[in-house]
Amino acid sequence: MTNWINLILRKDLLIAFRRSSTYITPLIFFLIVITFFPLALGPNQNLLSSLAPGIIWIAALLASLLSMETIFSDDYRDGTLDSFFISLEPTFLLVLMKVAIHWLITGLPLLIAASLASLILYLPFESFLPLLLSLVLGTSFMSLLGSLGASLSLGKSAILSAIIVLPFSIPTLLMGTAVVTSAALGQDYNGFLMIMGAMLAIGIPVISLLTVEALQLNYE
């Protein structure tokens, strides 16, 4: 049972770390987008501090969206995805494993970049830990949604995947920014985190099953 976990884990992590661009480019994209906001809106500290939750969240959303493009394309092209469907393990578990590892590669470094971003955007200190917690839950859900978008638009343009995924990421965005802004005001933010966790809990089985269904379309 743990054999396939080790196999996918080792293979994907090895490939990702051999090609450092896999985990560096989403980070750089995130930081560039963050930098554009003070450039466009002006360096006023109060303004940036009040906008910081939204800016960091939008940049995280876009970065995780764009990094999902390649999750299935390499495996589809070289035939590894075929073996997902042939194997004895339930396909949705294998897909879920791929999504989880992809999150480790792209979503987790985003937390480090978000810490940097919260410094340069003057995010209030009370919001720092809530921001990281909301980003953990939010980027995981974004990875799930992104895998669904990538599977529906396998072989097509990246923008199509973005159009499919972005409307569904709006609840995550709303909840995530609500966590950070309520933490800055000193209010209790646990309710919002719980809603994000609930979305993740419902999403893990439902979205992975639908992703498998969408991937099978390519093998008709």
Binding site: S153, I164, P167, V206, I207, L210, E213
Partner: protein, 239 residues
């Protein structure tokens, strides 16, 4: 009913009758609401846009639920006609949501003083509009149309999650848009002379949707099956 030629033959019998009843119900409902109903005590005559705005909103959401239902059938039972129904219903649904947004803006300017406000119901209706567009875009990108039907079936099933958010958004968040007038458990908060034409308009819009869907579906069926024998015989007969 799942077979395209059977559907085409069945729909040929009902399509004219459907069109006539759609047109007459619509005419009746709109005349009753836009002209005969009494003016509102606060808003005057401007409230009459309600008779287009509310039915369009109901249609936009109902059509998406219909598409999700068809998507469910398509994914599990692979009935071809249910896949084609999604493709035929999507543009109609999108037009209704667009009409809702536009009439809502027109109504909002004189009554709220603004064309747009970022409250829960308006924003979630805008999201519904984006999801419709994503669905239509996804279908047009995939060349193999049976495959495209399955892809949009999946998207419709996922997207139906936004519908309860729209319906409940006015109850969950205290917003500018007024709360629901109709509920299943209590009497409407509108006077009878005002909501009777509204109900007729809603029914009329449903029949209009059925008519437009039938027209679209018939076109879609002919388009998909144009290489088959039964279409060739049909075209020969109609020459």
């Amino acid at each position: 009913m799942g077979s395209p030629p059977l559907f085409f033959n069945w729909s040929s019998k009902i399509v004219t009758w459907l069109g006539i009843s759609a047109f007459s119900f619509l005419l009746l409902g709109l005349y009753w609401g836009l002209i005969l109903a009494p003016p509102d005590y606060k808003q005057g005559d401007v409230f009459r846009i309600l008779y287009i705005h509310v039915p369009s909103a109901i249609m936009g959401e109902s059509i998406f639920i219909f598409m999700a239902f068809c998507g469910f059938i398509n994914v599990i039972w692979r009935a071809k006609i249910s896949g084609m129904m999604i493709k035929s219903a999507a543009p109609i649904g999108m037009s209704f949501v667009l009409l809702t947004l536009l009439t809502g803006s027109i109504w909002g300017k004189p009554t709220w003083g603004t064309w747009w406000v970022w409250d829960a119901r308006l924003t979630s209706t805008l999201i519904l509009f984006f999801i419709y567009m994503a669905l239509i875009g996804l279908h047009s990108t995939i060349d193999d149309k049976t495959k495209a039907d399955r892809a949009v079936s999946i998207l419709a099933i996922v997207g139906v999650a936004i519908i309860p958010v729209i319906k409940k958004s006015v109850d969950w968040w205290q917003t500018l848009h007024q709360p629901s007038t109709f509920t299943l458990t209590s009497a409407p908060s509108m006077s009878a002379e005002m909501y009777q034409p509204l109900l007729l308009c809603v029914i009329a819009f449903y029949i209009v949707f059925a008519y437009l869907l039938t027209l679209n579906l018939r076109n879609e069926v002919i388009e998909r099956e144009k290489s088959k024998n039964w279409v060739k015989i049909l075209l020969e007969r109609s020459k």
